[in-house]
């Protein structure tokens, strides 16, 4: 039942400016059930930063978790200074991830820091015999990361807002320009991207949402999202992955 524990950093490197890959090892990894779940990390032992920081899981096995994160504030800055051998306190196996692997042709869609959780998902989909392509959106070429790692698994299409790499525009532009066909899609990224996707493709999608979280395990109601067919759902328990059919655009 317990899914809390100290994890020890076994690898930590900068992928591109301010974006880091971190691997941690420890028993709490074994509570992760599926791609798209997240962990919630107490970065320091003191009172500041006070709250845990939620992070998606890029890849995992029984004993380790790989995350990719961007330094955006105080917490991630402190995290970036951690060294191999340092420990942090983790809550693991949080939330409901991507569990529907029944598709013929699927695309996974990641925007910025929404790219990492697609990694383990692509692996799972391929294991289940699904034909997968990946569509990623970044601001500009120098923001890109992890493309080679994905290319080793599946075809990758990129859109950049400034056109410095791949298609100029959004992931939707990349899907259209590359004439990608799919019967299911899986997406993670900024809310405007998710909203645009639901508008363009209202059916057969799974979208992973973010929210500022108080707890990450359902106790505080800090992350409630209005969805169709229920009064609300918690991003941290019922989510972070929601069906495109239940998402209320700009809800």
């Amino acid at each position: 039942m317990n899914y809390q524990g100290k994890m020890t950093i076994s690898s930590h490197k900068e992928l591109t400016k301010d974006v880091f890959e971190m691997v941690v090892e420890g028993d709490a990894a074994k509570y992760i059930k599926e791609p798209g779940q997240f962990v919630n990390i107490k970065i320091t032992d003191d009172m500041t930063p006070y709250l845990r920081r939620p992070m998606s899981i890029c890849d995992y096995d029984e004993h380790s978790i790989k995350m990719i994160y961007k330094v955006v504030g105080e917490g991630t800055k402190l995290m970036s200074k951690k060294q191999v051998g340092d420990q942090m306190d983790f809550l693991t196996g949080l939330g409901h991830g991507f569990i529907d692997y029944e598709a013929k042709e699927a695309i996974v869609i990641g925007g910025g820091l929404g790219v990492p959780p697609m990694y383990n998902l692509v692996k799972k989909l391929k294991e289940e015999g699904v034909k997968v392509s990946a569509v990623f959106g970044f601001g500009k070429e120098s923001d890109m990361f992890y493309i080679k790692e994905f290319e080793a698994l599946c075809p990758v299409y990129v859109a950049t807002m400034d056109g410095s790499y791949g298609v100029k525009g959004t992931v939707i532009d990349a899907i259209k320009e590359n004439n990608l066909s799919f019967d299911k899609y899986y997406a993670c990224g900024p809310v405007p991207m998710l909203n645009a996707l639901v508008k363009a493709y209202p059916d057969n999608g799974y979208l992973s949402f973010e929210a500022r979280m108080g707890c990450g395990f359902g106790a505080c109601m800090g992350c409630s999202m209005k969805v169709k067919g229920a009064s609300y759902k918690r991003v941290c328990v019922e989510g972070p992955v929601f069906k495109s059919e239940e998402v209320i655009v700009n809800g």
């Binding site: 809390q4 009172m47 106790a219 505080c220 109601m221 999202m225």
Partner: protein, 305 residues
């Protein structure tokens, strides 16, 4: 081993540690982490008569050694709470709960209290007149002694269980409000709720919390909470349940020394799901070290100075 058992109106508790309302849901999220029967009681999520979705997101921000929230009393309404949430809870918790309740209006408080107080699992009501995060009702009842007394009196009339009134720290004179609710029949006082605060995104200039202001809680508010509990517990003859920033057994003991007969632990539960059981254990070991046999002996120990 120090005796931790405490008895308050409606709450006969194996120890004085109660998770605070809004930070523990209706209890069962925590059964994933530990057996919640170790707790003295549970203050359940603020309940209103009708269902509430609460405030728009983001509802959470952070401060030094604390957090801000503007949940806005999201809850499924009193009937769903009693029929569904309390029912689920009664399968995993065999103690009595402190049923926290909010309201838009005097009428809503009264109707909610009627329903809640009839539930078997409820040991006492906790009347929240201090929620800073709802537009009408909420804190305004808690900042005016007369309104505070009025809602207390009306709720007492309809409640078959003892009533604790939960006070706001955002006032000039908390003693005046405490005395007013005592005179109106309150069986106990819970204090403090959150301090009204704000944070801004320096890039956009916008308040981080969509509702603009939020309630600040956590270690940062501990000295303010201690001061208020000290003042109020000396001025009234009903028990005070103290809270605000407690995150260790040492903090809980300090709060009881200030004058609290029991304590609630709020956002510490969110950061460390094991906060409450750890606090209970630590209290016991500190009291043992200090050679104190009964936790009741430290209540208000500071008043002699």
């Amino acid at each position: 081993m120090a005796k931790l058992h405490v008895t308050l109106p409606g709450l006969d508790m194996k120890n004085p540690v109660i998770p605070a309302s809004g930070t523990f849901g209706f209890g069962y999220e925590f059964t994933k982490f530990y057996d919640i029967n170790v707790l003295g009681s549970i203050a359940t999520k603020g309940t209103t008569f009708t269902e509430r979705y609460g405030n728009p997101l983001p509802r959470i921000a952070e401060g030094p050694a604390g957090m801000l929230n503007a949940i806005g009393l999201q809850n499924p309404g009193v009937h769903a709470v009693v029929n569904e949430e309390f029912d689920k809870l009664s399968h995993v918790f065999n103690g009595k709960v402190l049923a926290n309740m909010g309201g838009h209006s005097l009428e809503e408080y009264i109707e909610t209290a009627k329903v809640l107080s009839q539930s078997d699992i409820v040991g006492a009501l906790e009347l929240n007149i201090s929620c800073p995060n709802v537009k009408e009702g909420g804190m305004q009842f808690g900042t005016d002694p007369e309104l505070a007394a009025k809602v207390t009196r009306e709720v007492k009339k309809v409640s078959s269980k003892p009533v604790y009134v939960k006070l706001s720290p955002n006032v000039t004179d908390i003693v005046a409000i405490a005395k007013a609710v005592e005179a109106a029949g309150a069986d106990g006082i819970s204090m403090v709720n959150t301090l009204l605060g704000m944070r801004f995104d320096i890039k956009t200039g916008a308040p981080i919390i969509k509702n603009k202001t939020g309630g600040y809680s956590g270690p940062a508010i501990f000295p303010v909470a201690l001061r208020m509990v000290y003042q109020v517990s000396q001025a009234v003859n009903i028990p005070v349940i103290g809270m605000g920033g407690i995150s260790s057994g040492k903090d809980a003991i300090e709060m009881m020394i200030a004058g609290a007969s029991a304590v609630e632990v709020g956002c510490a539960n969110l950061v460390d799901p094991y906060a409450c059981p750890k606090i209970i254990e630590e209290m016991e070991s500190i009291l043992d070290e200090m050679g104190i046999e009964d936790v009741n002996d430290i209540v208000g120990k500071s008043h002699q100075f």
